[in-house]
């Protein structure tokens, strides 16, 4: 049907014909070297100033990283994260006018085992990265994706965050830090002029988990290599593979941060990357968590906060900066390298956004601005951290539990039920009651047993292999889609399966003891 039922009248800014050999718009003197996203031509020098300033401005504006805090830089070797590393070096260097004051470390996740790289290729890449990391003088951690098979169950628990710092404490902490530095006559990074609050948090953290990855089995034991291969072979679509990889990578980073005493993690997502991520996450059903997935800070893990300081740079700015100022980076083939356009939802979205951006230069910045206006459905309250049900895999608030009946989630369940073997009389049952059974039977793991057996023929998606243990009820809408694309869940790393079992036992226990418990509501009723 005709779709022009809403008023879309503002014309989109079409690409303009490039002009040749402009002067720099900033200093009006230098010869322009590149055009940045606003369509402005910059010379080399002004571009550098602009680029360097933007990084500090982003951190300054958000006031999340405290002086002396230990920050883990997630570096993939690619252009954006390598550029981020260079900006941190620049900002911490002695002569920088507005100095950064945190203590950095680097983490690299070697995903070669999931992307079909040979051992030699992986070792080559790691050797090259080690040289790059060593040159910075920062501590670095090389973690292999295979190590997910050694992760403890605690990764999947969001730790309640450190008490909120009062307003103005950032300024005080900075002043304190500067004063301490003056007394000591030195302010080189890594010497640990710790803000007491940070120190406390880190002492707590180091007790949190005693299992250290480095002390466990050798990272790439043959056993785990096979485990990882089996895991990725059990995922049927590239869309789900990419999603799984992202989830596991995130778990490894957070675990490393916790065990090594880092309280912040910096990710190198550029605004081009985030625009693609936002649109592909919408397509993957992750609308409820867009804000945490694409915002400046991501507090879903509680104690370790993810920040994205590169989110104001376009991939073009980054590529030009790296090229002009000799920032090293290496291209490491990933899951979707050389893949056809429609190989996965993520890949398709990237092609789409890049194509649209070529025709309409404001595409990326418009999508990116959309992300700034979004908020998580339920803003996380640090005190209620424990009580909000969270997705087993992505740790975002569940968007499936109290779904309204008139919703896409519910409608899909209805469709599934109506497409399966139907018991003749079920057709006559009133709509309200059948809707209820559907909701319970297919979305809650605990109710499943009773619900299904009483109705005889499987009402829970019979076209799927039955999963043991049932993960579905513990997952958000989008992670369910990923698991649905797997042939089975037996190959998942043990910490995920164990945590699922633990959660099921807990809710089972809660159910069993519920009749003996007086909850608050009943207390009130009794009192009145």
């Amino acid at each position: 049907m005709c779709q022009v039922d809403e008023e879309y009248n503002e014309q989109l800014e079409k690409r303009t014909v490039p002009s040749v050999s402009q002067r720099c718009v900033k200093c009006k003197e230098g010869t322009a070297a590149l055009i940045i996203r606003a369509g402005d031509a910059f010379c080399r020098g002004c571009f550098k100033d602009y680029f360097v300033h933007k990084f500090r401005a982003m951190l300054g504006k958000n006031r999340l990283i405290f002086p002396g805090e230990r920050v883990l830089l997630a570096v993939s070797g690619g252009q954006a994260s390598s550029s981020m590393l260079a900006q941190v070096q620049e900002g911490l260097s002695r002569n920088a006018p507005k100095k950064l004051r945190f203590t950095p470390g680097i983490i690299y996740i070697d995903e070669g085992g999931a992307c079909g790289q040979s051992m030699e290729e992986r070792e080559g890449v790691i050797a090259e990265l080690e040289t790059m990391f060593r040159a910075t003088g920062y501590p670095f951690h090389i973690v292999h994706l295979e190590q997910v098979f050694d992760l403890p169950i605690s990764v999947l628990e969001a730790v309640s965050s450190a008490p909120q710092r009062p307003e103005g404490s950032y300024k005080a902490a900075v002043e304190q830090f500067v004063q301490n530095a003056r007394v000591k006559g030195s302010c080189s990074p890594g010497e640990g002029h710790m803000d007491p609050a940070v120190l406390d948090a880190q002492i707590q953290l180091s007790h949190l988990d005693t299992q250290d990855l480095a002390n466990g089995t050798p990272p790439s034991s043959l056993q785990h290599q096979q485990d990882l291969e089996r895991l990725f072979a059990s995922v049927r679509t590239l869309t789900a593979k990419e999603d799984m990889l992202q989830t596991l990578r995130q778990h490894l980073i957070v675990h490393t941060a916790r065990t090594k005493g880092y309280t912040k993690v910096m990710m190198g997502d550029s605004c081009s990357r985030l625009a693609v991520k936002l649109l592909s996450n919408i397509s993957l059903g992750r609308g409820a968590s867009l804000a945490v997935d694409t915002g400046f800070s991501d507090q879903r893990y509680g104690d370790v906060i993810i920040v994205r300081p590169m989110r104001d740079y376009s991939s073009k700015e980054i590529a030009f900066y790296n090229r002009m100022f000799g920032v090293p980076s290496i291209f490491i083939p990933g899951l979707d390298t050389k893949a056809p356009e429609k190989a996965s939802i993520q890949h398709l979205t990237e092609s789409f956004v890049t194509m649209l951006q070529a025709d309409f230069p404001s595409t990326v910045s418009t999508i990116y601005r959309t992300s700034e206006k979004l908020h998580t459905a339920r803003p996380p309250h640090s005190s209620e951290m424990e009580t909000v049900a969270k997705c087993l895999l992505c740790l975002c608030a569940l968007d499936t539990k109290e779904a309204e009946e008139a919703s896409a989630f519910h409608a899909t369940l209805v469709s599934e039920r109506l497409s399966e073997k139907r018991v003749p009389e079920s057709a006559q049952v009133g709509s309200a009651s059948t809707a209820d059974t559907v909701g319970q039977c297919c979305s809650s793991g605990v109710g499943q047993e009773g619900g299904c057996s009483s109705r005889g023929q499987g009402c829970c998606s019979s076209n799927l292999t039955p999963v043991t243990p049932d993960l579905k009820s513990l997952l958000c809408y989008s992670c369910r889609l990923t698991i649905k694309d797997m042939t089975g869940v037996e190959s998942l790393p043990p910490y995920i399966v164990s945590e699922a079992e633990r959660r099921h036992r807990r809710s089972q226990m809660k159910k069993e003891i519920s009749e003996f418990l007086l909850d608050d509501e009943e207390d009130e009723v009794a009192a009145s």
């Binding site: 919408i282 609308g287 409820a288 398709l348």
Partner: protein, 343 residues
């Protein structure tokens, strides 16, 4: 060996459902499709017994299937609704003439009353005449804005309680993507609502009973039921930017068929940061229709057409609203800017 229906297990399956991946026979598909629309109507409380419901009928597949299914369900479940068809004649020669014939046949086939409201009688302009003045580039803006009000005015003439339209899951998902691409946060928030609230005078509440029905299934339903519908696209070019969103959604669907529902789920679960300004809805001071400005879009567009300044409604010229209301002439400079048909 043919694939058997996953529901009855006896008959040969005729289609694979994109939403769930099940294979169904014709009979089970009809049943499931109708039941799903019923579930949508019941769970979203779209109608109350005794209400008069106007079905926006264009003669296309969506509204034809909607009219058919609503008639079936109204009888099967005793909704107690008084259904009627509501059509808009935009005045597009060669497109509307034929599709209105289809609607008239539908009226006979479904034995539902039909009311046709024309742009000509409502606004004094047919789309053909508008295209003559504004050219082919922005005519869809006029058509869309005028149609919205035309349905409302037609509904009020007939004392209709609710209007329902044939928007399907693909349309809703496409609109979500479109609003993300345009950074239109206000529409992004509204566009997944299944019905509009009945607030404000001069506006009849609207709903989309086919919101969760895939376009593919609507076409198949119409095809297997041999429904009479008109399938030519509008002869005036459609919105180019929406074309991108549509093509992208089709690609998404081919990668993962549930993607259409997944996009809608995303849209339903978005929430907007506090402090982001939302336009305040008021009423048009001229015609009383809902509007966030002093004059509604329709009145501004109409004024532009009547003054021979079609650009008046295209782009932002809010500061001119006062002059229009006071029936004052514009300055030469203002007129010069609005006259050029270079859009």
């Amino acid at each position: 060996m043919p694939i058997l229906c996953s529901s009855c297990g006896q008959k040969r399956a005729v289609l694979k459902r994109p939403k769930t991946g099940h294979s169904l026979c014709k009979e089970c598909f009809f049943w499931a499709f109708e039941e799903e629309v019923h579930q949508t109507i019941v769970s979203a409380h779209l109608f109350n017994p005794g209400e008069t419901v106007g079905i926006g009928a264009s003669g296309g597949k969506d509204s034809t299937v909607l009219a058919h299914v609503l008639k079936v369900l109204n009888e099967r479940y005793n909704y107690g609704l008084k259904l009627l068809l509501l059509s808009v004649d935009e005045g597009i020669t060669g497109y509307r003439d034929d599709s209105l014939e289809t609607v008239k046949r539908n009226q006979q086939q479904y034995e539902l009353p039909l009311k046709i409201v024309s742009y000509e009688e409502l606004y004094g302009w047919t789309m053909d005449a508008i295209v003559k003045q504004v050219g082919l580039k922005n005519n869809c803006t006029f058509c869309g804005v005028f149609r919205r009000q035309a349905l409302d005015r037609g509904a009020m003439m007939l004392n209709v309680d609710k209007i329902c339209t044939g928007h399907n899951a693909d349309d809703v998902a496409e609109t979500v993507l479109m609003n993300v691409l345009r950074g239109d946060i206000a529409r992004l928030r509204r566009c997944t609502a299944i019905s509009t609230a009945s607030e404000g005078e001069g506006v009849v509440p609207r709903c989309k009973p086919l919101k969760y029905a895939y376009e593919k299934e609507i076409v198949l339903y119409a095809y297997f039921k041999k429904l009479d519908y008109f399938s030519t696209e509008c002869i005036y070019s459609p919105n180019a930017y929406r074309g991108y969103a549509r093509a992208f959604l089709k690609d998404l669907e081919s990668v993962r068929p549930s993607a259409i529902m997944d996009v809608i789920h995303s849209g339903e679960n978005l929430s907007v940061r506090e402090g982001v300004r939302m336009p305040v809805q008021g009423n048009c001071t001229r015609c009383g229709y809902i509007s966030s400005q002093a004059l509604c879009k329709s009145c501004v567009l109409l004024e532009g057409l009547n003054r021979g300044l079609p650009r008046l409604g295209i782009g932002k010229h809010h500061r001119l609203h006062g002059k229009i209301l006071a029936q004052e002439p514009l300055t030469q400079e203002e007129e010069r800017k609005l006259k050029a048909i270079d859009f």
